[in-house]
Chain length 303, copies 2
């Protein structure tokens, strides 16, 4: 028990210009957990319906993820249906069925409460704070959110932000949350609410991290074949939090390496549908791609 994630477990139907997949395993907590599982012990809190098949459970078990926190309830699992065009940057949601996720009221199992690292995936900000109330003394808390909550629960979301160490959201959401078009100013505003760091995810342009004392910019890995961007953001967060949990410190050097590991995991994730690529990686492949990021970004100092 080291890293806790609370979020959605879903069955996704996705169409991209390169193919499609129906009723495949997805959800923020799922992508996060599988990604983080290469670095540390992960425990997962979520809810599924009666239609959640054994093969999905097996995918999580194969990665040694603790799934005792996944509640099975009467009804159907959360379902999302979406489509991407050629630019692959924006998902067009065709259908959302919350099903059992509509009444999600996460109960943290006793044995999870000592987790030192916590990731609050994109759920109602009220619930995000209720989860924190159940935890003992986490070392580091990170959270995600989305435009839906920014538009409907702004004040609640601000309260959650006050209680977390790192906010990891999309670039557009940074601007929307801060109500400020300039990204640097928007980031400063959000940091003034309490978080020590803000990471803006920029899709094919990578990620940029802001703190009071530094900015760190990381590219995305340039891929010849991007098949399905679903889950890239959660895979990023999983690699990021997984690596930090593994190293068990939160200095600037670790945070920056963690962002590169996050980018690494996101880059693998988009190479195939669902978790098909992400669940079948070797540590060697992950380290090799980390090193690729070094070659991709390195330039010599002035002499």
């Amino acid at each position: 028990m080291n890293l806790l994630v609370v979020g959605s477990v879903a069955l996704d139907s996705v169409k991209t210009p390169f193919g499609s997949a129906d009723d495949v395993l997805g959800g923020s907590a799922t992508y996060f957990s599988v990604s983080a599982s290469y670095f540390t012990d992960v425990c997962m809190v979520g809810v599924v319906g009666e239609d959640f098949r054994e093969e999905y459970i097996d995918i999580l078990k194969e990665r040694n993820i603790d799934i005792d926190g996944i509640e099975k309830r009467k009804g159907r699992t959360f379902r999302w249906k979406g489509e991407y065009g050629y630019d692959l940057n924006e998902a067009h949601t065709l259908d959302t069925q919350l099903n059992v996720f509509a009444d999600f009221n996460p109960k943290i199992p006793e044995k999870y409460k000592e987790c030192r690292y916590v990731f609050l995936a994109n759920i109602d900000p009220d619930l995000q704070r209720e989860i924190l109330n159940q935890m003992k003394r986490p070392e580091l808390i990170a959270c995600d959110t989305m435009n839906f909550w920014i538009e409907r629960k702004y004040e609640s979301l601000k309260k959650t932000m006050e209680q977390v160490d790192i906010v990891i959201i999309n670039e557009g959401e940074v601007r929307e949350l801060a109500r400020e078009p300039n990204l640097v100013k928007a980031a400063q505003k959000i940091l003034s609410w309490g978080p020590k760091r803000l990471i803006a995810k920029r899709g094919e342009y990578g990620a940029i991290m802001f703190s009071d004392s530094a900015i760190f910019s990381a590219p995305a890995y340039p891929l010849e074949s991007v098949y399905d961007p679903t889950g890239a953001g959660d895979s990023f967060a999983g690699g990021f939090m997984g690596y930090i949990s593994n190293v068990n410190n939160i200095n600037e050097s670790t945070i920056r390496q963690a962002i590169i590991f996050g980018s690494t995991m996101a880059s693998f994730n988009v190479e195939d549908f669902s978790l098909n690529r992400l669940r079948n990686l070797s540590l060697r492949e992950i380290e090799d791609r980390f090193k690729e990021f070094k070659r991709l970004t390195h330039f010599d100092d002035l002499t």
Copy 2:
């Protein structure tokens, strides 16, 4: 005589959410030259009309740019009028008056023909090749272009690409030119036509360089205040080519540093209208920002 640029000299009228400027000095060759002038001796070929005031000439002279290649013709100077919204990524052209630029037929002065480094700014690809025919034996040739020529002179443009070493264009133009939505594949296709390197400019996301053996990704400098993006791409090219001309070699290390100097100059340029910021820099400011780029992108290797 070291670095030659051939391109437009213009009078711009620009409106952004942060202010406006009328009939101010602009044009691709102008931004390029002022930017490059911090690194090397620049000579400039272009055309202006009778309305081109002495104060504009003085701006170029102050930067020690050789302007003997600027022809003064009867009529008015090329005029561009544009507007930017809050995202500042895309210019909306309100009016273009080619004026004397319509019949631009660049004659390279004899003393310029020995220049070792050549930048063909965004002009008709037929003219770009005519310029090369007039040059002796340049060490390195780079070129820009735009959607206008991609759509109207595709075959001519491909011929120009065959004769240059480095193509420096916007990311969207890479995709349009290669007729391929994936950037990596698009870059490979353009490289297969002849150029050794392709640099895709990505606005606020920086630049990415492709060669047969490497990819290099550079962020843009995160700015709190961006006033006017006009000329950013040409300032980038000017810093890039200027530094290479100064160091006088074209190995991978130099190219990468040159991309950072290009990004540095572009970042200064957007801090004010016209050349107001770009023409008033110190070498110390430029080097300091280069070093900022190092802090912005550095992460430690795995131990």
